[in-house]
Point group: C4
Chain length 268, copies 4
Amino acid sequence: MRYRLYRLLFHHDAHDERNFDLALILAIVASVLVVMLDSVPGIKLRWHTQLYIAEWLFTVLFTAEYAVRLWAVRSPRRYATSFLGLVDLMAILPTFLSLLFPASASLAVVRILRMLRIFRILKLVKYSDEAGLLIQALLRSRHKILIFVTTLLTITVIFGSLMYVIEGPEHGFESIPTGMYWAVVTMATVGYGDISPGTGLGRFLTSTLIIIGYSIIVVPTGIYTAELARTMRPARRSVRCLECGLIDHESDAWHCRTCGRSLPDPVE
Amino acid sequence: MRYRLYRLLFHHDAHDERNFDLALILAIVASVLVVMLDSVPGIKLRWHTQLYIAEWLFTVLFTAEYAVRLWAVRSPRRYATSFLGLVDLMAILPTFLSLLFPASASLAVVRILRMLRIFRILKLVKYSDEAGLLIQALLRSRHKILIFVTTLLTITVIFGSLMYVIEGPEHGFESIPTGMYWAVVTMATVGYGDISPGTGLGRFLTSTLIIIGYSIIVVPTGIYTAELARTMRPARRSVRCLECGLIDHESDAWHCRTCGRSLPDPVE
Amino acid sequence: MRYRLYRLLFHHDAHDERNFDLALILAIVASVLVVMLDSVPGIKLRWHTQLYIAEWLFTVLFTAEYAVRLWAVRSPRRYATSFLGLVDLMAILPTFLSLLFPASASLAVVRILRMLRIFRILKLVKYSDEAGLLIQALLRSRHKILIFVTTLLTITVIFGSLMYVIEGPEHGFESIPTGMYWAVVTMATVGYGDISPGTGLGRFLTSTLIIIGYSIIVVPTGIYTAELARTMRPARRSVRCLECGLIDHESDAWHCRTCGRSLPDPVE
Amino acid sequence: MRYRLYRLLFHHDAHDERNFDLALILAIVASVLVVMLDSVPGIKLRWHTQLYIAEWLFTVLFTAEYAVRLWAVRSPRRYATSFLGLVDLMAILPTFLSLLFPASASLAVVRILRMLRIFRILKLVKYSDEAGLLIQALLRSRHKILIFVTTLLTITVIFGSLMYVIEGPEHGFESIPTGMYWAVVTMATVGYGDISPGTGLGRFLTSTLIIIGYSIIVVPTGIYTAELARTMRPARRSVRCLECGLIDHESDAWHCRTCGRSLPDPVE
């Protein structure tokens, strides 16, 4: 029975395992909704008791689930110190702590991290391959992306400082970090408008920064798309040539392109 | 004659059928324009009578068209309950209802849904293939996009809550849902500026959120582009030529493109 | 000598022709700069006489150029009614008209259309191929883009009307056209913030609209990139099979894939 | 020992060379942080002495490094006039100059250019290939990008002037350059909202500009992605196999992948 529970909680293949996953997703989303609604002044005033009860219901539920998980796994310690185990603990702890200490807003909000539990379900088999593909393409682009981010950061620092000198505190550029915040907001085309240039030179510099940002925004998109397209193209097969040892061949190769020896059975 | 009308109303191939489509598009756009103009205070004051007459003209026209459609189709019931049939009904109902009830603004605005009728025409043969390609690529990317949206939602929830705690109501972050609205507006680089961070820590977090949003905006673009590029690439089939051994052929090939020998059964 | 002038003015290959192009670009940019500076109150006050003289200098220069062009071409009439001919005329007319009529601001600003003359130079040989590629990919995507724009417009109309009903004039949504303006500004992630939602429901709808806009922004990028990638891939050759008439073959085909007959010389 | 120092300062392969690079990156980032913090009024007030000491520490450190670099290289003159040499000098000069002249804000901020020194380290071997690929794709797209930028600039000039005439100074469009600043901010979807249209016609024009901007933003992304995808695709060569006639081979193939026969001379 312990093994049965273990499968139910940690696997996602059989029919009842999937039903349990669905129920858990609903519970997670509902408990996150409770935290959210509790932060809206109007709703808190009218429905406070109901939300308080719902909160404790979910806490008891998640506590029970946490206990069963601890009991069902082979090594409770390894589970408790794993990332998902810590997230599971964090989902219940704040409510209990609020009994000991007067509930501060920040403590209550930690409960929102329950949202992270949703990734437990997303470890579903059918999704992991797709996610793997996405992450693989990201990882393979990491060198290119690091160069890109360094360039971006340097531009941010330089333009943030320039605007601090040119525009100064009277137009909202109070310090270099504020200028950098403005440069990030501008380059990423967010553009709140809480800080915006007031002088002619400042506006010219802003236009320059926007055009630079506009030009290099295509770089990460291009990197990632090209990498993903390459990952998705099933154009090669890995088979070791018995003569020269070359492994990377085109998918329709019958003979090794280096030594000409016929390759092992091409039908996979 | 009933069949003739049926073809005129539901098909788009012959010359007169296309002319009818064009007239219908013009009528739809004009009727939507009437609803729009009627909502502009200045115009309503001066041209109210004319707009009122035009409105009833279009309603009578669309009612006649609806009646003819009902009469021309084989199964009036199936048409009346289809999506496009309901849209056709919704295009005329609000004007008649305004006779019974005093015309409220919301009732009048429902008439804008006439706009949806435009998709009736877009079911044209030559466009459906192209649209099919676009939607097919979207459907094939749905697993990847679901993972992406979940990640996005989680980031939104966490950053919205963080900013609610850090910035608080005095900077506009009145509740967690408001914080989430801000996070969506920020990540998608819209950046209204109606709510924007005021503290140093808040600005640092905002910069982080923007850079995260900036980094993962490339993911859906990459997914969709790569998928679309794959969809648009002429299909290939793997069959071994018995003469020269070439495996990679176009899906419509009957003969090997290298040696000319006819290929084994092309039916997969 | 007339032919010599014709080449100088309309061709871009020889050394002196290119020098003339460069001088013309400089003159165009300088004359546009004069119009711009003339609109800045501070500068106009101090440098009005100089700008006035410069303006007449450029007008005389462009008038002379226009006259020479009219004289050098074979058919002055065809040149005068061509797009570039009209642009050339528009570059000089407003200044002369300002002698007859008191110079209104709008008349003066028409001179800015001189900027369009820059495309005369961009008809350079080496650029036209590249531009052709870009425009060809755009044209080939036009059906897909039309579907996309219709969908976008429909979403704009519906969300603009919804927000007009929900938010109303007190939050800036004065009419449906204003609502549509807001929807365009939001979907394209511009987000001025001059109009922004004030109610909870309005903010929820805004988030929905942003996510929809965010999701479909990838569609045109995907379409264009995939189309461009296909245009740039030199993977096919056009040669007519002598047996069955098939023209579209892979670039390395020796035999027709339909009938197996060997194709005419594959070495281009 | 001079050669040893030279390697330590200018190469990035051996273990200790990498450790030195890491230490240098940390020193650069820390010294930039000092300049930044010094610009925040609150921090400057409380920690001024400490920041002053840290500033001089870094200046002495970088001066020593500069001196050693000058001594270690074969041609001190060539190093001193190289781009990275000038950046190295600029990193120390402002602090010394502040002793002679009373430290103005702009002089102090020049120290932020130390950030550029970080690119010295990014010349690491393993990154240069990746950066080379990115820049190569950018360079190969330069003709296309130039056409794109000219089109963009023309649209900016025309729409900026139009809005200056239509909206006028009362809505913030004080001059044509201001209008162009607004057009850049709008087309790039930054949208600060410091200047936004107030009239109906102005809003219609803005929507048009946004849709134009939205349509052509895909062009550079498409160009760059397609170019990058082409750069990343393994190169191929066209040579006819004497046995089976296959033409399309990988650039490093010695034997035909279909029949195994050795290919004609692989040197192109």
